[in-house]
Symmetry: D3
Subunit: 327 residues, 6 copies
């Protein structure tokens, strides 16, 4: 039977004729010296191991094939699904670039579990409700400036929220926690917590190279996202100072905001240049821990092959069990 939607590839013997995303590709060689490719094809969260043998290279040389099977490309693929060591494996017969406009890469990338549009609306609503004009303006102007990347980038290269929109999703999850916690603990200044969360990881839009196969950029490696967002904020402050009355109160708010962001990794050894010195900085750090840990575990246990009561090693946290689901 021929299948056209990659997500329906679920048993040995099916034939696939459709589009798939290249998630990774490594050149390899048989001991006899014949080159071939180990490729991971996928669509959203689904992935299948794939082989491209030399007899299907179709006159491409190795350099050309590397370009074709570059991480992030969506290709038109034909091939047969078989089973190998208990796992499905696709063997490619034909491959080609799709015609322009036929597929949207976005439809093939794994993405946040909630729609980007509603996450955006929620984010905009949270920052729109910040009462302090200085904090609100900084958030809105930086969001406006970096929106395109901010809503597609992942929140981390690996481990947690490493999918399209992960940065936005992680930020909104934290804003929800921040909203609740500012309500439960009356000493916590809500504006500062919400602005701090809204911007804490925004520097990643420069720290990473792209949204679909992110690596650290040179600037990311040299400075890190905390230093980057400090400079972003400072540039907005230089402008705002001329637009609104600027007193000790406004200056304090900016320094507190920067401090909350600088301290959000919690400890110097995790890359924060300072440790928390105000309540809100500690709160934002704790919220970040809470959301990222929950995501690491739930995301790590979303493994089709994992049975109830089975355990799996989740980097960097250790062994975790999938427990019985509540009804």
């Amino acid at each position: 039977m021929t299948i056209t939607d990659f997500k329906e590839l679920n048993e040995s013997g099916l034939y696939f004729d459709g589009y798939a995303l290249v998630k990774s590709a490594q050149e390899a060689t048989t001991k006899g010296g014949v080159p071939f490719f180990n490729i991971t094809l996928g669509k959203q969260e689904k992935s299948i191991s794939t082989k491209l043998w030399e007899n299907k290279f179709n006159n491409h040389d190795l350099a050309q094939l590397k370009k074709v099977f570059e991480n992030g490309n969506v290709l038109h693929i034909k091939g047969k699904l078989s089973e190998y060591r208990d796992q499905l494996q696709l063997t490619i017969d034909e491959f080609a670039f799709p015609e322009e406009g036929v597929v949207q890469v976005e439809d093939y990338l794994e993405s946040a579990p909630e729609p980007i549009e509603s996450l955006r609306a929620e984010y905009e609503n949270y920052i729109g409700n910040i009462e302090s004009p200085v904090l609100r303006e900084i958030c809105q102007r930086l969001y406006d400036e970096h929106k395109d990347k901010f809503i597609t980038y992942p929140a981390a290269k690996s481990n947690h929220h490493c999918f399209t929109g992960g940065l936005l999703y992680h930020t909104v999850s934290m804003l929800r926690l921040g909203d609740h916690i500012s309500g439960q603990y009356k000493e916590v200044k809500k504006d500062l917590v919400m602005a701090g969360i809204a911007l804490h990881d925004m520097g990643k839009v420069v720290e990473y190279t792209n949204y679909f196969a992110p690596d650290y950029s040179k600037v990311g490696n040299f400075l890190g996202h905390i230093t980057i967002i400090n400079m972003f904020i400072d540039r907005k402050v230089q402008v705002l100072k001329d637009e609104i009355p600027w007193t000790r109160k406004e200056a304090d708010e900016v320094y507190e905001l920067m401090h909350v962001i600088n301290a959000h990794h919690g400890k110097l050894e995790y890359g924060s240049p300072v440790e928390s010195k105000i309540l809100e900085a500690e709160v934002v750090h704790q919220i970040d821990m809470m959301d990222s840990r929950i995501n690491m575990i739930t995301y790590g246990l979303q493994d089709e092959n994992l049975q109830e009561n089975e355990a799996k090693r989740i980097f960097p946290m250790g062994l975790y069990y999938r427990t019985s689901q509540s009804d």
Copy 2:
């Protein structure tokens, strides 16, 4: 002017004739060899440094005075308030035990910022809503058994929630967070989180010696509150096994509950015999961090002498600033 309510002692020159709690007392001696006492008297969160000079010992010897000025006693005190190095200091003229029944120690101890009765009702409501019969029964029976101490003990000897009812207040604050977080993250099993929180520190009713001036008991030092609550739970389980149908599901729930509690300190070096291996264990640990850190900072900054923008070293966390209050 003569003041009878300790909490109204606020300027040099006042004369006090009323009741006060002994918070601490140390024997000292002048270089001339004359004994005297440095005493901290207080009422609830208010404290004043106090001197008892030898000419006011009133025929008591040192051993008798130590009994009188034992931490936790409420005494009838007369004395004058003066100022010494910018701080108020009380010099005792007369002291006596109050007549039986005239004062309630509870009225003089510092206590949780919300009424114990409403915290109890909230706690009972949370555990009453646990759906799993096994988890709910364990919580309720242990609560019933240890209620008297559980609602008066502090949550820690120092640093956080170290006031009457602190254990209950800390537990209820965590239950509120647990309630919100189980709602926000659908993968989190609410019953397990709520039961784990409800019992996580209950072993402290044995680990500490009393509620008003707690030290570690010998058993507390030998075993610790985590080992103690494990044994408490196990004893209830031995009974419950004969009362309700006991399958793999019930056994799993008990082991998961014990695991959540065993892992709640987060790391082995903080005294957990195991580290978290299920999502709910990590969540309860994070909630514990969140609530205890917020309490340490807000409690530490509740210092009448601390101005806005001033900083204070809060053990064990470091320097913290009191920022301007939100309006």
Copy 3:
């Protein structure tokens, strides 16, 4: 020449027709895509690398073969011994389950270097000589209850005493040290040291899944052997309390015993929920270190291929030299 005793397989060219224990088996595949198995066969401490090529699968499919070559099975094997990269390698011709009752798995497992029966007698003698009725009864009842597993389980999954009867052997070696040390240092309370040693690792009968190929059980991972033995002891205490006069002295003895066991890992980061607070707890920890370190090194250096003055990396301790033997 045909050999029937696995332990006599020592040169290339021999033909084997006899029984062997499966120590491990992994499915593999040639680059040409043909499946085969890498198997370690053995008898007691002897092991040989073995191949099962596809032409000898004998109509079994992969799933069936995995059942046959499951860790812990003893099989009837025929095959030829050759040399490959300086090491002996067995190529299987035929394999079959032996007829019921023909072989005893125990004869094929590696076991403690002293006979189990004499170790048992020595253990029973040591606990029988404990003078305190409470400590002696707890040891004897728990030994009676868990004897079957206690005398066959290993003392660790790897590194030290990881052979049949290792748990008993390690415990008896420690009892011998405890006996000497209680004699040499008069301040050390012998009863407490001996009872503490006798029970310190007994929780492993639940922490591990079985004795011949142990892994951590779910309960083992969730609670650990220290928490398990605490509950075991507490259950016996609940019974003993009704059988013998129970005073402060008996209660103290139980808490001290539990404390010795809880603290035997020495540091919180090694999984002890408390660190030693009495002399005997420190002594038992030091005895455990002494015996396990000596065993790790001597066991690790028992390598036929290691020459005098050669070194070998022994996990987790580092590089160790085999020195010249004393005459």
Copy 4:
């Protein structure tokens, strides 16, 4: 005999009538309850313990006296030098503020061991010789902007270079090492090393509150000197971009400069938000270690009372011996 120059106070019995700097002052009280002050008076590196007894308060109340004896004030002092427990001690008879303009505070503060003017000239020469226009301009403009503080501030609150001009002296010492090392190792890019050194600690002009009795400012505590200098540089870059042709090369130079500065503490746990990723960053860190360690030890051993072959504990490094001097 009456002495007017504080530095000549060197034996018991002398009478002092001259100016002295208040280095510290603490209110104290005799056991009899009489207040007095423990004061350290000094001139440059010389210090003498001083008492102001109540009978010399001269009608000032405690609050007034605290203002007079505030750290950093230079006062006209009369008093007698005696010996107490083998150390000189000054007892104040009279004190007064000097008439306006009579004394220069600078003459009383401890200062760098080389003249500020020649250090300035050397610094200006080093940055003037930076060949890269971008790096040179950033250094010169920031130096021009912060010169007044940069040449008077200490390099640290304590431990090393904690004297007037210490920041400049430390920077110039490092520039000398940087100059030599860029010459000895040809792979090291000199411009980057020299510009990195020139600016690496300049943020301290904001991090500290003043030059004569420095504490961390609130901004210093919230952001730290590394984050501050990043913002300083970025503001200059925003201007320079419009003044000189700005290509990838210029951008790279700025990022490398920022990286060198960000990494100069060497490890995350010492407050660097990133660790060195280019040779020059590691070199500047090593130069900083070299100069600060040498200064800590030589400065710590500059103790008049320390004999040859005697040792002294130097915080934070440990015990150090003064060895025999080379001839």
Copy 5:
């Protein structure tokens, strides 16, 4: 009543006229400015706090008094015993140096709990029984050379075995353990363990300044006792090489001995330049841990004031309880 033996001073009101050892003395001063001395007098393990007021200085100036009350002197003391804050306190009336030859300092120092002579005989017997000529000769020659100090020095400046003969006592206790352990574990080479123990701390005779009030000598601080004993051994080896046939076997024995000693602190961070690489090195380290830990705890709990079930903080190990004594 007048008491002449210091060890019988046990209640308020007694008058002392006898000899006592100065254990420590600090000059102090009353707030009124009058000097006095806080002195600890003692005999063997007994100590009493003592005051020497100015009216009893008996025309000595402070410098003279410091000479008289120097740590390690035995003096003729007259004075009255009173009680102060629940503790006995001696007030000196008269003091004098005893006539030459009347007292032996040794009778007043705290010493090992077994007679030095029998410890010496046991030590000599152990090293005399070493079978390897090289190891035995090295031990005997170094013992002969350093015997005088080796039998009187403590094993540590504080914490464990810090009494006269402590070094010998600690070494003999370890030899007893080494003797037993070499017997229990047949893989352990006894000669190497016994020689290693015999010499492991002998370098302390140079590392410390004296036996009755030891501090680190300059050489001790610069090199440490491990480097010192290495050089001692090497010098004997240079001689032995010419006296006995010297083959690879002898060289190996020397290197193994040095290695055992070099590694006896167990970890680099405890001052061993290498970590154990042979079984015997690990065994000697474990024996050192065992004996020093047992001594720290038993010695620390030998406190007359400590009741059964009371706890005391024992540096550097933590809180320890005195448990009920076995009958």
Copy 6:
């Protein structure tokens, strides 16, 4: 085209007929079971991956081939250069030992970037200029004794200065820094710094097995190069004591020299038995850090394939970027 100089092998298709050094060789096997060798051939810093297939074994068995392709041999090789996965790969046709005397191994080993002869002269000049007779004699006599190995050994097994003459080159680089720093900081005693540097790593001539393919010797593993040099120095001191007047000054110089060397690893956990207690010890440690870190990074980035702005992971330091070269 046929190439005879290995260093000119730079494109696919060339044929090599010349000499090459075996840098490493591992036996491997095709999945079909056919043995072959993976060999790294090289000349100085150049290396090429090489295959020797079975059909070219030329009647050698595996044991013989291992002897031929032993690390450090120079062989006559014929073979073809091809490209495999973007990298050059040599396939051997023929191999043979060169005739005696035709090639010098030294010409094929990687060596220090400056000529050994000039480094030697510089070293000799530095130690000849040490003014203290004791320090100078110790340096010169030890240099004379160990010269042959000292000028060829590497400074480390890997990471830094791991080439022929690396030990001398590293030492001379440090002497240059020491010379400058003793000049810049007048408190630093030059003689001690220069003698300390000259000898600090000389023990490596015994710690390593050879100069071209060094491993740790047994003595190296047992004692380490710091303990070895201590004994070397001590032996010279025993002789010098009889040759020159020996006072406290000379003894102090020797102890200070030993201390500088003992402390040069900086921290106990890096293998120094003591940490620095004099200025010069700290200075030598810092100089060692400076030179070894610079060498690790520059050596690690000397990779022909690394482009400007590309990064490479340099063990044990992390990711490093090759920046644009200064002009």
